[in-house]
Amino acid sequence: MTQSRRQFLKSSGALIISFSAAPWNALSAQDQGQFGTHPSHIDPGKLDSWLAVGSDGVATAYTGKCDFGQGIFTAQSQLVAEELCVPLARVKLIQCDTSITPDQGTTSGSQSTPTNFNSQSLALAAATAREALLNLAAKKLVEPAEQLTVANGVITGKTGRAVKYEELIGNRHFNLSLSPTAKRRSVAAWTVLGKPVPSLDRPALMTGQFEFVHNIRVPGMLHGRVVRPPEMGATLAHVDDQSVRNVRGLVKVVVRKDFVGVVAETQYAAAVAACQLAVQWNPGPELPPQQNFFDYLQKQPSRDVLGVDSGDVDAQLSSVGSVIRAKYTYPYQMHGSVGTSCAVADVKADSATVWSATQSAYPTRSIIAKLLNMPLDKIRVIFVRGSGCYGLNGADAVSFDAAILSQAVGKPVRLQFSRQDEMMWENLGAACVVEHRARLTKDGIAAWDREDWVASRGSRPGYNQPGNVITGMLLGYDPEPIEPRSAKAPAGKLRNGSNIVPSYFAGCVGGSCQGDGTIRSERALTHSVRSPFFTGPLRSPLRIQNTFANECFMDELCKLAKADPVAFRLQHLKNSRVIGVLKAAASASNWQARPSPRTDTSRAQTVTGRGIACVAYEGDNGYAALVAEVEVDLQTGTVRPKRFVAALDCGPISNPDGLRNQTEGGILQGMSRALVEEVIWDKKRITSVDWETYSSLYLDYEMPAVETVFVTPTDVPATGAGETAITLVPAVIGNAIFDATGVRLRDLPFTPARVKAALVEVEHRA
């Protein structure tokens, strides 16, 4: 499979046509699609929606979970090869195309593996197909299905007679429903899945042959640029078309409410026109000052949700014992994709095709239908990979923008954002404040109360909220509102999707204690507050913010108890999988049991320390523990991580090489976010608009060693994995700095200036 995307799409074209699972307009009768998706014309209950075997023996699989570089293309190909018992080279995977793949909502939240690799969706389809083929072979060979064996797409009977898949089904529909009883192949028997198969995109990537959405070219295609407002909340006053009259190749200035864009014959002409276009804007309101933003956040009206509330924390926190409190802050951060977002839209009078790097093909189709005022079934969104997104970058907004521009000129338009368009208007990772209070007795933590304030505005547009991103706002749509309301008592069962509840809480809701820990006097409250900027999911959304605060505060409690951070954590944990990864990380890192901070440090300029943290990602979607060893320069305040050791438990692993790659990348990305990344703004606008005003660690940074160990219990389902390790990075670095220096840093990022200031302050106090 060393073919480029162009060849790939070309060669799969025939199958796309012959195997479109259902007529274009025939909406399935299902009331509700799976995973909160909407019913589409492709019925996920039918086998033909997921799989087809061609007369050449090639198995084409259709998935609604797409690859942005996280490796899910290769892993899903392995899955199909494994379950169907065909060689990997004979699997073709078609990703996220609203005309031919089932609606699986958004590829996000570490949900692709739990969704497609367990006992439903793609995995179930492949297993159903294998059983169906065995049944067909049984008839053909006149032998019971149980005594047939299958390998390499060939089914062989006891008598030695054999039949190929393509002879049984080639180019024909299965006409079957997914069989809920179809058996997955056992992990022990895997020959393709679970193996470190090299990512299938590598040869094309390394040789410059890989075609990103940026490389889509359509006959007659024009180029667009958007002209965004100069500040938050500005509205359009006037556009002077004459100001770009002299731009050669200009096709049109497009204005729709507050949306302004230009279309030209070339990228360069579009860029020149966008720069030169004279636009007057009515100013927006002044922004809250960055300096005391977190205080501001805590004073705003909020929508409150209780994750857990035993009802007795206030009483507990006023009784005997040592009570400590601490406040943690986490800044706005950016997705900061290396490539700015890009899409190509071809909007005709009665239909539209959009090539998009969106994580949400079907929802994007719905929003585009709304914005273009066109029937849903006339719009096709085809996913084509973009620059790594790490969540909701500009991919959705640019797809909407491109469609608007294309509709305005009646021709295909390619639109790629400028760096400033991308950064100034992206849906940032949320800023957040967390406050903790806890009481310690000689037996451990008696009570723990934690409360957070999250800045939130918009998010994914979903199927009907265009105002959740900038394009929708400019077109007059509001973001999903945050209606202030106080929290109701938690009901049902424990939900910990954003990891607001620390692992050490018993997590008792509705009489059942589903938390990972033992603390019974517990409260976890979250306040959603309207953000001045758009926000949206950024790798480990809110999980990283909450875990930073929770796991650092746990370390403060360890210090108060004068206990070893591993031992004290274990004392408050009951979930065997969290315990498993914590012990594995401690062991792999050769953890020496002792309290923090270390007391054996000399008065050298550079001190070293170690820190640990653990998490049950989203409560139950992957388990990780991480150890960091860092060096701190006491003169400059510079923090240099030297080594990370991660232990992961994500159930059966689809591709260990892919998982290691994701884990290493996640940890180093987390390090960049912990050490340098922070969005800056002034009175009017975000001023982090390029790589000089928003910091990231470049390739010259001397990266620490990263070691990863896997903990794999038997008979557990596959969980997400790509966001587990990163979730722990700010916390372990903070804990390691404390171990090295005795100074607790509670505000991210840990810049040299901030570290130095904290060191000086502690020295003065001493």
Binding site: G69, P203, H223, T266, L699
Partner: protein, 155 residues
Amino acid sequence: MQEITLKVNGKRHVLKIDPETPLLFVLNDELGLCGPRFGCGMAQCGACTVIMRGQVVRSCVMPVSAVGQDEVTTLEGLGTLEQPHPIQQAFIEEGAAQCGFCLSGVILTAKATLDANPDASDQEIRDALGGVLCRCFVHSRMLRAIRKYAETRRA
């Protein structure tokens, strides 16, 4: 509009084009090359890197008229799918990518550095990569691939 002759990856192209057009747009839009990519338009990230006269150049900020007679080599100019260049092969073997958008900057900068100084130390290689950004943070694998290429080169 001006007639400009460009030599790219061993082929000559004659184009009628606005001479101020950034070389990157010409490579992408006129010649259909996918290797160099628009990342920032300000020479801050390296995604648009090409090699000219053995030096790395940020094609997003170079007007096409400034190229002159120099041959331009892009990522696809090194090797092919069937026969990758040894540095590409090293990246394939080490799995040194996730999204892969940044690869022109990484691979071409490393190659130019080692072409100029085959004995470049890890520190020297890293220094050369100081302006190259990878937001998937595949840094360690990339450095490993570059080291592997440096060794095969010396052998």
